[in-house]
């Protein structure tokens, strides 16, 4: 049903809400009650002066009566219906939004909340499933509880027990009770952190990520080539709590400074302005390898991009997230990422358009342009394969230089199997929790 023809329904709803009888309103605007009845049941079109008079009497903008709810609300309702598999056309959504604007807004808000909670579930599931610290702590708790239970049981059930054994078991229980208390405290601390999915930091890699995030992956003093700049960043970094995180950050800042020296910020930005974000051209222009150019692009303050680096085992050792392209914090990522394909084609620069399932609902996709390359990180030895590291730059499709031909065909990828809705994917390792009702 067209929006315009639903003006009658909106008039009726407003009139009833204001406690006006049909005859009253009709008289006030100079028409018969039966004609108003036809209008209210959408059997007569309404517009012009009559619409304005009724709107005035009902204390509402004429456009609200004529056009109904905002188009965005209708669009959201349609998307929500599609997502939950309801066959509701846009006409029905418009009808619902017009008749019950408050409820329509509530549905839209509830759907947004569901999406937000789903994101939290993804984050927490990812963490709870793959976090090695949680697994180790739980193992410690269960092992200690087993020792206490077993020892206490011996003390209470064994009628005759030698004094030295009794003393030893008492000591063991005391030790285990202390250990259990510490493990339980660590577990509570961890779970408290999980409760705030955005603030928890518990591993060296996470501390390092928090450090980079605090500086938005850009270090101005290193751009200026200031001596001891890296040390001053490290010294003031409250995020780097462990010595491991400190070492990782120090290594990264050294690499950053080297890249900045080879590809000075202003000149590099000018090159991008002139030629676009084309890593191979930039690498050639600055006489650096492809991975260096990819890394450098990811440090620019004005380029919206993500980057991920993995070692030869596929373990991610560096990540800069980008909206719409979730990168698992723990566990394995989607094997279809060009990052991993790069490992089987060392030194070949790959450019692929990929699509990720979007948050908005079934069938919606977010597209990205990726550039990936795998390169040796250690100098070669006679008779031995070089050790490789793969780097993948992720750009929203509108950031990239114009592409044509095969690059325009998007490869469907995901985040990790556990939270990926592509059930028929041939690369699937394990069932998705998204298919189980999330």
């Amino acid at each position: 049903m067209a929006e315009r023809t639903l003006a009658g329904s909106r008039i009726r709803e407003r009139r009833i809400a204001r406690g006006l009888r049909q005859a009253e309103l009709a008289a006030e605007v100079g028409i018969s009650a039966s004609y108003l009845n036809l209008i209210e049941h959408n059997r007569r079109r309404i517009g012009g002066k009559l619409l304005q008079s009724i709107a005035l009497r009902l204390d509402v903008e004429p456009s609200i009566l004529a056009e109904g709810a905002a188009r965005s609300v209708v669009a959201h309702l349609s998307a929500v219906a599609e997502r939950f598999g309801e066959e509701a056309g846009s006409g029905e959504a418009a009808d619902f939004a017009s008749r019950f604007p408050g409820w329509a807004n509530l549905v839209v808000r509830a759907a947004r909340r569901v999406e937000e909670l789903e994101r939290n579930v993804e984050t927490l599931t990812d963490r709870l499933t793959h976090d090695p610290h949680l697994a180790a702590t739980l193992h410690e708790v269960l092992s200690t509880a087993t020792a206490i239970r077993s020892t206490a049981s011996i003390l209470s059930e064994t009628k005759e027990i030698e004094p030295e054994w009794r003393d030893r078991f008492h000591r063991n229980i005391n030790e285990d009770a202390t250990r259990l208390a510490e493990s339980a405290q660590a577990l509570v601390g961890f779970l408290d952190g999980v409760g705030d999915a955005h603030s928890e930091v518990s591993s060296p890699q996470e501390e390092f990520s928090a450090f980079l995030s605090a500086y938005s992956w850009h270090f101005p003093a290193l751009e200026e080539g200031l001596k001891a700049a890296a040390d001053s960043y490290l010294k003031g970094a409250s995020q780097l709590k462990s010595s491991s995180a400190h070492a990782i950050a120090a290594r990264y800042l050294r690499c950053y400074a080297e890249d900045a020296a080879k590809m000075p910020l202003r000149v590099f930005e000018s090159a991008i302005e002139e030629h676009g974000v084309d890593p191979l051209s930039l690498a050639a222009q600055f006489n650096v390898d492809t991975a260096s150019a990819l890394r450098r692009i990811a440090t620019l303050p004005d380029i919206d991009c993500g980057i991920v680096v993995c070692d030869a085992s596929g373990t991610m050792i560096f990540r800069k997230p980008i909206e719409g392209f979730p990168i698992p914090r723990f566990g394995a990522a989607c094997p279809l990422w060009p990052l991993f394909q790069g490992l089987s084609r060392p030194m070949v620069a790959l450019a692929d358009t990929v699509s990720q399932p979007a948050r908005g609902g079934a069938g919606q996709e977010s597209h990205f342009q990726t550039y990936a390359v795998a390169q040796p990180v250690l100098s070669a030895e006679y008779g031995r394969e070089p050790l490789l590291e793969a780097t993948m730059l992720i750009l929203p499709t509108d950031t990239t230089a114009a592409l044509s031909g095969p690059a325009l065909r998007a490869q469907s990828i995901g985040s990790s199997c556990r939270v990926c809705p592509r059930n028929a994917c041939p690369a699937r390792r394990e069932p998705s929790i998204m298919a189980a009702g999330f």
Binding site: S143, A147, R149, S150, I154
Partner: protein, 126 residues
């Protein structure tokens, strides 16, 4: 002393206080108890001790209990040796993996002494 007198059990576990507790109850039941804490050298310990039964933890330093079990089953000398597996992971897939690799029994922590004793006695009768 029970009919277990003279029988030998090898307890492969890295948690010292669990070793002491289980060792104590099995000793009281008449078993001769040997213990070993390192996954890497567990197979050598089995060869040296030649036990009648093994109590094997899954998470061990050096090598997992599953890998040790696989090697035991691949060797004709230990292929039929009764093995009770202990683990802090009680998920179905862990149980399935243990049985697939050839464990005779699978027990999740925290277990009771009575359960361990009962399982060991049952396995001794195999």
């Amino acid at each position: 002393m029970t009919e277990m007198a003279g029988k030998t059990v090898l307890l492969i576990e890295d948690e010292p206080n669990i070793i002491e507790a289980i060792g104590f109850i099995l000793s009281r039941d008449g078993w001769t108890v040997h213990t070993h804490s390192n996954g890497q050298t567990a197979i050598e310990a089995v060869e040296t001790r030649a036990p009648d039964l093994i109590v094997l933890d899954v998470m061990l330093p050096g090598r997992s209990g599953y890998d040790i079990l696989k090697d035991l089953r691949a060797d004709a000398a230990t292929a039929k040796l009764p093995v009770l597996m202990l683990t802090a992971r009680g998920q179905m897939k862990d149980r399935e993996m243990a049985l697939e690799y050839g464990a005779n029994r699978f027990m999740t922590k925290p277990f009771s002494n009575a359960e361990v004793l009962e399982a060991v006695r049952e396995l001794a009768a195999l």
